[in-house]
């Protein structure tokens, strides 16, 4: 059976269709979900896409995190459904307290867009199992509020329990503490990251790696999720 993966559109979402495209490219069925509903339509996994929901008013991702469908997302996450938050989606996950810490304005105050090197630190989550721990990948990064912060105790716990999923390599592009680019929860079903795996899933459109626009390193984020669904059944 084809896996059904929900992509939630909020007012101001930008990358919902790219996320749906990535899901289709790995052989699953994307299901468009709406922020104002209370219905996940029985999907097997959920993606919170990038963008600037509600203009990033109040705090990035904050108003979206209080939207109706997020109650269902929190319940689904707590019962083990794979949930991925990309960029604005990562900000929603921390605002919804599904992941610890916070994301603030980039230290240099600029919006940034670059092909970003990452180290996959935890390759045992629902969204990273197709990688190898320590593997270096390149996917696009584009954000204004990507600076990850948490108190020292939280940072120690994240490191001690292996909850850092991705770390910036080469350059820390936004002042994130401990170069943190993405996190997972204890159970490994919820992952949030600032860079955009959904923009690196198709040859000819991804970041430049060994050839021009050859990068497809984001693809395995989605194939990992599909395999984790098979493993759950």
């Amino acid at each position: 059976m084809t896996a059904r993966v929900g992509v939630i559109t909020f007012p101001g979402s930008l990358d919902d269709r790219d996320a749906a495209r990535a899901i289709r490219l790995v052989g699953a069925e994307p299901v468009a979900l709406w922020h104002g509903d209370h219905d996940l339509q029985g999907v097997d996994a959920v993606v919170l896409p990038g963008g600037f929901s509600y203009g990033d008013y109040l705090r990035a991702g904050a108003i979206a995190a209080f939207s109706p469908i997020m109650r269902e997302v929190v319940d689904a996450a707590n019962s083990g459904t794979p949930v991925l938050g990309i960029c604005n989606g990562f900000q929603m996950l921390v605002e919804a307290h599904l992941l610890p810490g916070g994301l603030i304005r980039n230290a240099h105050q600029q919006f940034i867009r670059r092909d970003q090197k990452l180290i996959v630190e935890n390759a045992e989550t629902a969204w990273t199992a197709e990688f190898t721990a320590g593997e270096e990948i390149v996917i696009p990064l584009k954000n204004a509020d990507g600076g990850y912060i948490a108190d020292e105790e939280t940072l120690k716990r994240l490191e001690g329990e292996g909850l850092v999923a991705f770390r910036y390599a080469g350059v820390n592009p936004n002042g994130s503490q401990r170069d943190i680019a993405g996190l997972t929860n204890e159970r490994g079903n919820v992952v949030g990251l600032m860079p955009h795996p959904e923009h690196a899933v198709e040859p000819g459109f991804g970041p430049d790696t060994h050839r021009v626009r050859s990068g497809v390193d984001g693809r395995r984020v989605f194939t990992s999720m599909l395999n984790s669904l098979v493993a759950r059944v």
Binding site: L58, A62, Q109, A150
Partner: protein
Amino acid sequence: MPTIVVNVMPKAELLDPQGKATTGALDRLGHGKFRNVRIGKRFELEVDGPITDEVKAEAREIAEQILSNSVIEDVVDIDFADGGAA
């Protein structure tokens, strides 16, 4: 209509990139004696009805749960427009 004012600031120990950039601008404009600008938020909430103890409690909850994120910000004061701050 009575108005409740909530002031929120980024936590003192965290980098405030907006404040830092503004400090730099002041310095360039010859106002170098003004240091460590920090930028917070002021919320004004008009209340439909009198400000009772229940309304105050509700406003406090809103300030802490919605208007601020305790990971990165502090609610520094709430002015209930009745001459007393909380």
